[in-house]
């Protein structure tokens, strides 16, 4: 049986991708940002997911204003990096998992989430930047990735509650997939930022920190944040944080926060990042056979990411 083991959120600021591509990651400005993801990469290397479901938004790359799907699930075998005006990013082609993706599509549609199925799509920085932050810059991405594109460009995006419930439906779908797969769900975008109009540059760290807290402890409270409140308090483009709630809905109610990072700014945006693990299944019979090195992982989970970092040095 496939199982969602953890959820990760991360900003997907395009300038982070540019800093990687132009080899500026050691510059002080960027080092401040990238250093926050060192432990995350170790965590990810340890977690070894078979599949990442990456919730992100397209930025006028694959979808223009001709077609604006609210939820679009990538069911293709691969997704090439999009040319966003400077040539495609020098990152590996994203390999999908068509079998699991179409299983999810079928399951959630029958659960009344009428998503769009995409069999051909290029993916932009919204997806590839978080992959870089979690996996570094390997010659090939180490696992399959199922893109889930959410419209947050044209108002209104789906509500936070709808996103959360879609996450629930995705969890149900994954849990009913027969193959043993370890799945990590990523929510991308945010945190507070406004990049349009005279109010551009807005950042509200207080909102962001409360959002990170709520994500761990009380995500249902976050589903009550209205669109206007998001835009007013966290910036017009900060509204994309609704995508994080898909990730959170896909996790168990109780999760363990193993890592968090927050910094201001990356270009125009507050960067926020959190790693939440599902707790291990309580009974042995429910534990999937695919849980490799369960005891070690359990220990790491109990001590948080610091334990992971220490262990990796041994």
């Amino acid at each position: 049986m496939a199982r969602i083991i953890a959820g990760v959120t991360s900003s997907h600021v395009p300038a982070i991708g540019a800093a990687i591509d132009l080899k500026k990651t050691e510059e002080p400005y960027w080092k401040r940002v990238f250093s926050g993801f060192e432990k995350s990469k170790e965590w990810m290397a340890n977690a070894k997911p078979d599949v990442v479901i990456a919730v992100y938004n397209d930025h006028a790359s694959a979808f223009s204003v001709e077609l604006i799907p609210t939820f679009a699930l990538g069911c293709a075998a691969e997704f090439p990096p999009a040319d966003e005006g400077w040539g495609p990013r020098p990152v590996p082609v994203v390999k999908g998992h068509p079998e699991l993706a179409s299983h999810i599509a079928q399951s959630v549609i029958l659960d009344e989430f009428d998503l769009t199925i995409v069999n051909k799509m290029e993916v932009d920085h919204g997806l590839t930047v978080p992959l870089n932050l979690m996996f570094g810059s390997p010659p090939e991405w180490p696992c399959r990735v199922i893109p889930l594109a959410v419209n947050v460009v044209m108002y209104p995006p789906p509500t936070g509650h709808r996103c959360y419930m879609l996450g629930r439906a995705i969890r149900k779908a994954v849990n009913s997939y027969p193959e043993d797969l370890r799945v990590v769900v990523m929510g991308t975008g945010g945190m507070s930022h406004q990049i349009s109009g005279p109010r551009a540059g807005l950042i509200k760290s207080k909102f962001d920190k409360a959002y990170l807290d709520g994500l761990t402890k009380d995500p249902k409270e976050l589903t009550r944040i209205s669109h206007v409140e998001f835009m007013r308090e966290a910036g017009a483009e900060g509204i994309e944080m609704v995508m994080w709630l898909i990730m959170r809905g896909a996790l168990d109610d109780k999760v363990k926060e193993v890592y968090r990072f927050y910094t201001v700014p990356a270009s125009n945006t507050a960067v926020g990042h959190i790693i939440l693990e599902n707790l291990e299944p309580k009974t042995k019979s429910r534990r999937p056979a695919s849980l490799r090195g369960g005891a070690t992982r359990k220990r790491a989970a109990a001590h948080g990411i610091r334990q992971v970092a220490v262990r990796s040095k041994q």
Partner: protein, 176 residues
């Protein structure tokens, strides 16, 4: 429902118009800005960027733009483009065609220089205080350092950031 009633209903429903200095890209703007955004989208192709740079006015003839949209594009009035239905992710492609970083465009929209804008971001960004609401307690406050979108077209034209944008030096990464 009369047209006036419909219009009043529309205005009433747009609670987000109370947010200062913000143009929400909603269904109405998306409809009005369709051709403007499709023009921006066309700049994804190198051959189109070349054609546009060679003769901007004649390139714009390919798109069913309103005279106001055309003017906003030609003068690089990014706020006006947003007001007329442009979306920032699309208009940023015009900025990139001019060789400008995203932060440069953001600075223009706030009436600032890229240097000052970058300094503001490093210091923690623009505060929400005074920038929360047009109608509420913050009503008297304006999004510093520039006035809100509620300006008249005349004032806007005067302070159009277009020429500044054209003069400004190319700075930093295009993708900033």
């Amino acid at each position: 429902m009369t047209a006036a009633e419909a219009s009043a209903k529309e205005a009433k429903e747009k609670e987000y118009d109370d947010i200062p200095g913000t143009f929400v890209f909603d269904a109405d703007r998306s409809r009005r800005g369709y051709h403007l955004n499709m023009f921006c989208m066309s700049l994804m192709k190198a051959e189109n960027r070349r054609a546009f740079k060679e003769n901007e006015a004649s390139y714009l003839d390919r798109f069913a733009l309103t005279p106001e949209q055309r003017e906003a594009i030609l003068t690089r009035d990014y706020n006006r483009m947003l007001e007329l239905g442009g979306n920032i992710y699309f208009t940023a492609k015009l900025g990139a065609t001019d060789g400008h970083s995203f932060q440069h465009i953001a600075a223009i929209m706030t009436g600032s220089t890229q240097e000052d804008y970058a300094k503001m971001m490093l210091a923690g960004g623009r505060s929400i205080e005074g920038n929360r609401s047009k109608s509420g307690r913050d009503a008297a406050a304006k999004p510093a350092p520039r006035r809100t979108a509620a300006k008249s077209a005349k004032t806007r034209a005067k302070s159009s950031p277009g020429p500044t944008a054209k003069r400004a030096k190319k700075a930093g990464s295009k993708r900033g």
